[in-house]
Each structure stands twice: as C-alpha cells, then as structure tokens.
Amino acid sequence: MKSILLVEDDESLGETLTLRLKKDYDVQWAQTMKSAVDLFRAGGKFDLVLLDVGLPDGTGFELVEIIRKITSVQFLFLTAQSDAESRLRGFELGAEEFIPKPFHLKELLLRIDHIFRAHEPKNEKLILKNCVVDFQSMSIQKQNEAAVFPTVNEMKVLKFLVDKSPQVVSRDQIMDAVWGVDKFPSQRTIDNIILHLRTLLGAEGESSIRSVRGIGYQWIKNMGGQ
C-alpha cells in the first residue's frame, strides 16, 4: 500500500482527510512543520506528501526545502493560499500539483492516483516481430544481430510517435517535443530521422511508421505490435 504524509494544521480538515485517505492508503498526519520533519528524520518513508502552505511554525515551502535535503519524495500542495506567486513558488520547488482549497474529494483522490501512476516504473521496451526497442538503454536489437544505438534525438522521436499512437503527429509537434519550443530544426531533419529509424527497424520500419501526407507521421500499433 502506498504511504502518504498529510501536513495540515486544521484539526477538522486533517482528521476527516486522514480518515478518508486511510481507506486507500497508509496515512500519517502531522500538524506542524517540526513534527513532519521529525517523521522524516526518524526514517519515515513516504510515497507522497500532501502539504498545506500556512503552518503554525513555518510555511509549506520551507518544509519542502528541508525535506528535499533528506529525501526526494513527491509532494503536492493543498492550500487556501493559491495566488500566482504561491503557485509559481510551489511549482519551482517541484510540486506535482497545486490544489487550491476548497477542493473536491473525488478530484483530490484522482490527482493522487494520477501522481502514483505517473511515477510507477514503466516497461521501457517495445517488442516488435523482428526486433526489440529498449528506450532505457537507447538501443534497437534485431534478431540474430548486434544491438545498434541510434542518436538520442532519434530515440526521442520514436518514443514520441509510440506514446502518441494512434494519433497522427505533425512535424511541428515532434520538433516541440524533442527539441523544445525555442529551437527550430528544419522539417527535413525530421524526415531524415524518420528515414533512418525505418532503416534501423528493418522490415517493420516502413509499416510501423506511416507518413501522413500534409500532416506528419503516425505509429501504427497493430502492425508494429507494441
């Protein structure tokens, strides 16, 4: 069972939330910054921290700065202080979410679930009929052949196409996802990468990466067999 640390100074809110969250998670509740820090210093292991910003002996931001020196746990802010500056500071500190009070119980549960699912270790291998693409080791291994290592950008383009499948993605979307919005490689660069990827994937390359005239490319799951 996943464990959650709730840092909330409001008695009623903290108690109700702890009781409800305990149905799905292992929950501990701290009402002050000091007690939360003590839990971590005593070796407490948590998968997620739900933090209020206004605490009696400090702020949630200060607490995150202390916790970050002890562990790299995920955290989300659950606070009535939701002005632009606070949200910016929260995200700068690496918050997964910034949920303003009052919140919907269902929405909070969905977001917690989403965070846990997003951080689950994923199978980073794409198994095709005649080859295996390993996104972790950034390699493509054909049957009875030595593994080949495409460039980082080539692997990023392939991953983007696979993740977006069955959606057709434009060259602009690929550029934004792989190079970022500030860099502008030519569309020819994308076409060359696709050409090279098709060659590396062998017979399945042509059938898995479909060119969509006037738009871009599409990864075809059924033929590629993801």
Binding site: S12, L88, K106
Partner: protein, 286 residues
C-alpha cells in the same frame, strides 16, 4: 511576495522623499543666492527674506505631509492586504472543511440522499461568490500565473463542480492561461447557465487556430432576452432575476487579463445561450 511588497513600499516613500529633498534644495539655493545679491535695496532684500522663508516653510510642511501621507497610505494598504490574505485563508479553509465533510457524508450514504448533493452545491456556490468577490476586490493588483494547460483537463475538472449538469467536450488544445482565473471564468459561465438559463447541458467545442484557441459554449437553457451588449459590461441592477452580472463582468475582465476575450453570441429566447471564449494558444500546440 512580502519582499516585493516591501520593495514597493520603499520605492514610493523614497520617491516622495527624493521629491521633497530636491524641491527644498532648489528653493533653498534660490533663497540663499537671492539674499547674497548686494545690488538689491533693503526693501527688496527684506521682501526676499520674508517671502523666501515663507516658501521654504510651506515646502517643508507640504513635503513633510506628502512623505507622511504616502507612508501612512502604504501602511494602510499593507494592513488591508494582510487582512485580505488572512481572511481568504481562514474562510477558504472553513469552506474546504465544510465541503469535505459534506462530500464524505455523501459518499457514505448508500441511498444517495439528495440533501447531501444540495449541501455540496450550496457550498460550491458560496465558494464561487467568495472567489468572485476576492477577484473583484483585488483585480487591478493581482498578478496571474500563465502556464501551459490542456484545455480539456480544465473543462473536465468542472464536472466535479457541476455533478448534475451535462458537460460535453469536443476537441482539445494547449493554451497559455492562469488555471485559477480560467476556472473562475468557466464556473461563472456554467453557474449562469444553471441558475439563470435553467439549462441542463452545455456543449463545449474547442477549435485551435494559429495563435488562438476558440471555445464555443452552447447551453440548452431558456437563453437571454435582454440587451446583449449590457452583459459583462457593468454590474446590473437586480430586476426580477437574482443575478447582477458580476460573474460575467469578472469573466470578461479576467479573460482580457489573460490576453483572451469573451463574446456573448446573439441569443434567441428559448433556444439556449451561447458564448465564445478566445484564449492564447500555447506554443507547444495541442
């Protein structure tokens, strides 16, 4: 925030002090220079002495008052801001407490007692009214945090606010907007459809162009038969209907602040209400 606030307080008081020092130095220099002129007769010398002294006295009193009043105004502003911040925190925490208890109770009630749903709806309405008042009280000064947002995510989240209302979304796009402000705009528009339009469903159609994203919201309510150009333009006199147009006015102002726009489309009574929202498109695209 506090650092920025103290910097602004420092700047305003220092500006007043600088003006005071500069004016006093100029007047003082002029006065001393005039008194040193030997070609003046005694009467002229006396006149310069008394008029100059009076002018310097006025500059000292006036300048001193300006610095004092600027400082006092800033302190008052600071106290007001502090009060608003505490008030917002306390009242929002109280509403959160109430809403959470109501939602937990609703979840635990097996036969879905409608009273709990009504309670949740009323708490949400209270929160929307509070949020509108807070935005309105501080709209000029409040800054926005523009971030890359998936529009469908924001629209989808509204289903938690309006559980008995049908929200049908077509399309998606990435936009550049303040999540809290956009949420207020959309909640106000839907609340308007529910409370005044008696609508049961809204269709939200998203279309993305080069630099902007359009959201066309159409409800199936009774529409609006009044003067369309007054909507969102000012706070209306209450006539029969309970609304005063504050939510729509605020929505328009918030969208303008996000470099977007809100247009109320021509409506025929009995055939629903339609609004068009324009928002800047994120460079990352949909």
């Amino acid at each position: 925030m506090n650092k920025r606030w103290s910097l602004s307080l420092f700047s305003k008081t220092v500006l007043a002090l600088l003006w005071f020092a500069f004016t006093l130095a100029m007047v003082g220099w002029w006065w001393v220079y005039s008194l040193r002129q030997t070609e003046f007769k005694d009467s002229a010398h006396r006149m310069f002495f008394w008029e100059g002294s009076s002018l310097i006295a006025f500059v000292i009193v006036g300048g001193g008052m300006l610095v004092f009043l600027t400082h006092r105004d800033e302190r008052r502003h600071e106290r007001l801001k502090f009060f608003f911040s505490n008030f917002t925190h306390d009242i929002k925490t109280s509403i959160a407490r109430l809403q959470l208890q109501a939602e937990v109770l609703k979840e635990q009630t097996k036969d879905q007692d409608p009273v709990f749903q009504r309670l949740v709806n009323d708490v949400q309405r209270l929160d929307l009214q509070l949020e509108n008042s807070l935005w309105f009280a501080n709209l000029e000064e409040s800054s926005l945090f523009l971030e890359d947002i998936s529009l469908v995510q924001v629209l989808d989240a509204l289903k938690h606010d309006f559980t008995d209302y049908g929200i049908h979304i077509e399309g998606d796009a990435q936009i550049l907007a303040d999540r809290r402000a956009l949420n207020s705009v959309l909640r106000n528009l839907l609340q308007n459809s529910v409370a005044h339009g008696k609508a049961k469903n809204s269709r939200m159609k998203i279309t993305a162009a080069d630099s902007a994203v359009k959201v066309l919201i159409t409800d199936d309510g009774i529409g609006f038969s009044g003067a369309m150009d007054q909507l969102g333009g000012e706070v209306l006199q209450q006539q029969g209907s309970r609304g005063n147009g504050l939510g729509l006015l605020l929505s328009k102002k918030l969208l303008r602040k996000m470099k977007g726009n809100l247009t109320f489309m021509a409506s025929t009574a009995g055939r629903g209400f339609q609004v068009e929202i324009l928002l800047p498109r994120s460079r990352r695209g949909a």
